[in-house]
Symmetry: C2
Subunit: 337 residues, 2 copies
């Protein structure tokens, strides 16, 4: 009996902010798995702000074309298998996009280790804190930020999955960690649950430069940027000598036809700043070790993570668009089944 | 008999582009050298674009105050000495600013080695190719740029002292080197005398992005920036993956109340770029070795340098202001005596 795959494809390249019309829900019939193939039923997939650039233009990967399935990370269950490496009931993860079912020959598919994913480490962590967002925090901080004990680390989108993880890791390294987030509830979460030393609600601040100055009395040694534009400029204005700026995301810029960018480039000379961008796939060979270390922290209760689950595959476009309004609280995932 | 020192001081902080009224020429009487002191007669001093920021605001050093002597590097001759380390007739160098005479206790003063400074290595090289500009090229390239054989290095202000030196060093490392300069004569100098592979006259180019693309068919691996703003943005647009951007100067930005900055920050993520600023004094302990290496290159004819001499201490302000019009051709110095 054929399986019906429901999938979200690109309807048309958006100009500026994506709308519901950017996406189209399709139903297609999938054949039964051929030899060596297996069929996966998605349980969750992710909606990622960084994917925005692929909707309209060239990025580190080529632009998505109309009709192509929207990208995202998926956690699912094997429901049929002609592949000896995977059995029915296995939980698997892979970059299979916004769809309910996937036929796979096993390539790019990883089985979740049932021993590892237990207790506080839920299967969804594979596409969150142990997936691209968490690994971005881990390698951005360790490879570009290089925090030293006693340094001050400033983090934007602090309640988001990248910022939250980066801040907790920086705390483990003995840093003073200050977040920037967009609501009192987010700031409470950032300081009380994640253990940041302070959090600035940028929506409640007339002068962000002064607010950062007050929250970072010794200046900013590392800025972990998920926002770009004006917030990046403001952080640069507060950077100490030899400050490091990790460009991990730019949620304020993705929807602009002409990005705002930064004005504060002279500070790079006067303060010997270094700003570096990050694509986490470059660290692919180190993923497994990093995941094992972070899994240990989670099981020990040193690293927590929050998910913001949107129910039903129909909700995916709205869940994605909401990311640019700062709606999400933690890693935003869509629950498919 | 007292010595009359003629010196240029800051008359008032300029807004925007400095004018002749920014500066005031004073005459003051100097006492005879006290015990351990010596008197230096300046022969040449430098006018530096990077000094612009100190005229109006805080930079890596504090702002200059009205009445203070304008900064610059000086080469001079000892004319009186009560200091056993310096004899009358010694050539010396130090950061003594825009003045004809200096009383010194020897601190911050270096004697030029007569054996080293001979032949093609003139005394003025001590405040040029072996001074701050040349050392900026040397350390910017070696410590931030880290050129590898076969890479493409793009250099703005290529006919200026920093760019010219950086390009020649990059050629020695086996790189393809492309300059950007502001006249056909400068471009000729850059390619024919300095040996760059190509030079773009940005004043004769409608579309600098395309001009860079044509001159750098394999993209830009290292951009050595002396200009900032739009030119920096354009170079970023052409940067290869893992491109390095050395922020050495920003002559297009210094006179602006609000700098233009850059728009192309998303490329830092998509192309894993790294941009770093440079203050050459951070490498102070390595100066001597770098100078010895560069002196060797000059004596071997591998590294050439050009000076643009303005005659007479009266000409200093105009010589300085002209830097921002791209007037100078090589290291601009003022001949005092």
């Amino acid at each position: 009996m054929p399986t019906i795959n429901r999938r979200w494809v690109l309807a048309s390249h958006p100009e500026g902010k994506p709308t519901l019309d950017t996406f189209r829900l399709e139903e297609v019939e999938l054949a039964d798995p051929a030899k060596h193939e297996l069929l996966i039923q998605a349980k969750y997939f992710s909606v990622d702000p960084g994917m925005r650039s692929r909707l309209s233009g060239d990025s580190y990967a080529a632009a998505l074309q109309p009709g192509e399935v929207i990208e995202g990370a998926m956690v699912g269950e094997v429901v049929q298998s002609n592949n000896e490496k995977f059995a029915v009931g296995d939980l698997v993860t892979g970059g299979f996009g916004w769809q309910s079912h996937t036929l796979s020959n096993g390539r790019g598919l990883a089985k979740l280790d049932a021993n590892l994913f237990s207790g506080p480490l839920r299967a969804t962590a594979a596409i969150g804190v142990l997936g691209i967002p968490g690994l971005t925090s881990y390698f951005g901080l360790s490879d570009i930020g290089k925090p030293k004990e006693g340094e001050t680390v400033l983090i934007s989108s602090a309640a988001g999955p990248v910022g939250a993880t980066a801040g907790q890791i920086a705390k483990m390294q003995g840093c003073r960690v200050v977040g920037i987030a967009g609501s009192p509830a987010k700031c409470d979460y950032v300081t009380k649950e994640l253990g940041f030393d302070a959090c600035i609600n940028y929506k409640d601040t007339d002068n962000l430069v002064d607010a950062i100055k007050a929250a970072c009395p010794d200046g900013v040694d590392i800025y972990f940027d998920n926002v770009g534009g004006e917030m990046l400029d403001t952080a640069i204005a507060n950077a100490n000598e030899r400050g490091r700026i990790i460009i991990s995301g730019a949620v304020s810029e993705y929807n602009k036809p002409e990005p705002r960018g930064i004005r504060n480039t002279l500070q790079f000379i006067t303060h010997r700043l270094c700003m570096e961008g990050l694509v986490v796939f470059d660290y692919f060979k180190q993923f497994r070790d990093a995941q094992a270390e972070m899994a240990g922290w989670i099981k020990d209760g040193k690293l927590i993570y929050t998910e913001d689950i949107s129910e039903g595959i129909e909700t995916a476009p709205a869940a994605f668009i909401g990311l640019f309004e700062g709606e999400n609280f933690g890693r935003r995932l869509v629950k498919v089944s």
